[in-house]
Symmetry: C2
């Protein structure tokens, strides 16, 4: 049975929910090789106290361990949010040829939002990018997370005012 790109993104979205359960910014990612998921990860920056622990980085590292190679030449990466500079760089370093992302990131995304690095063959590797896969669902979980965070801060500020 062959899976569709939407099905792989749906799995990445489940992983974003796992991040949410740890109160992490909810982003999930999977790496696919020959039609199967070989690595799954979600953002663990706070949990692991690690600025590099974005979903893509952890998924890329797990995929390299799984294949026993740092070159992930015949793989696809699915991630719920447009990659940031660091993650786009890691995608280039690992030679992943094909990327699918869900929601856009107006503040940090480099595949169409802040920068258009995916359109520039600047380096020794040039991945193909498809954005907008399950964009609504991938974006909604992030909007809800940040809205909730703002509410918590507001409640906290009001509490302090009443002290």
């Amino acid at each position: 049975m062959e899976f569709t790109p939407e099905q792989f993104m749906a799995r990445a979205l489940e992983l974003a929910h796992d991040a949410l359960s740890l109160q992490e910014v909810p982003v999930g990612a999977v790496v696919v090789h020959e039609g199967s998921i070989i690595a799954s990860a979600f953002n663990r920056r706070e949990t692991d106290c690690k600025p590099t622990a974005h979903a893509e980085i952890l998924a890329i590292e797990a995929a390299s361990q799984s294949l026993g190679a740092w070159r992930l030449e015949r793989t696809q990466l699915y991630v719920t949010l447009e990659p940031c500079l660091m993650c786009w760089g890691a995608i280039i370093q690992s030679r992943i040829p094909e990327i699918y992302f869900g929601a856009t990131d107006p503040k940090a995304g480099v595949c169409g939002s802040v920068l258009n690095l995916h359109e520039k063959p600047l380096f020794n590797h040039y991945p193909r990018v498809t954005g907008g896969l399950l964009a609504k669902e991938c974006g909604q979980i992030l909007s809800d997370f940040f809205a909730n965070l703002r509410n918590q801060k507001k409640t906290l500020a009001m509490g302090n005012k009443n002290l």
Copy 2:
């Protein structure tokens, strides 16, 4: 006793020599906090089978563990080679305010070589960059490494031809 930037870079260069002893591309890095080195690392991409195992990434991760924080706000990073896209992204993610690098990287450097990302306040953090520290020594070890690699390939090719 206060150390100079050149002394911190000299330590990073020693780490590049450690990378060389493992036949890795010789790049070393240290993170400094309040005048002391809190993290040291060198490129281990082949050894660890990890596309993300550049010196900067490993040094940043070790510094976060050392300080118990993913924000490295009052630190300086010293690295023997101009950062690539991934490492520059990790520097931004970790909020390091000050970077010193040694040699330029005409193929992958993003602080003046392939891109000038250090001149653009595009993201939520904007580090200050000083390049060219011990540039000759930091570049020489890399030139020697790649010249040696080319010679090895040439010898191998000649050997195959004589089979």
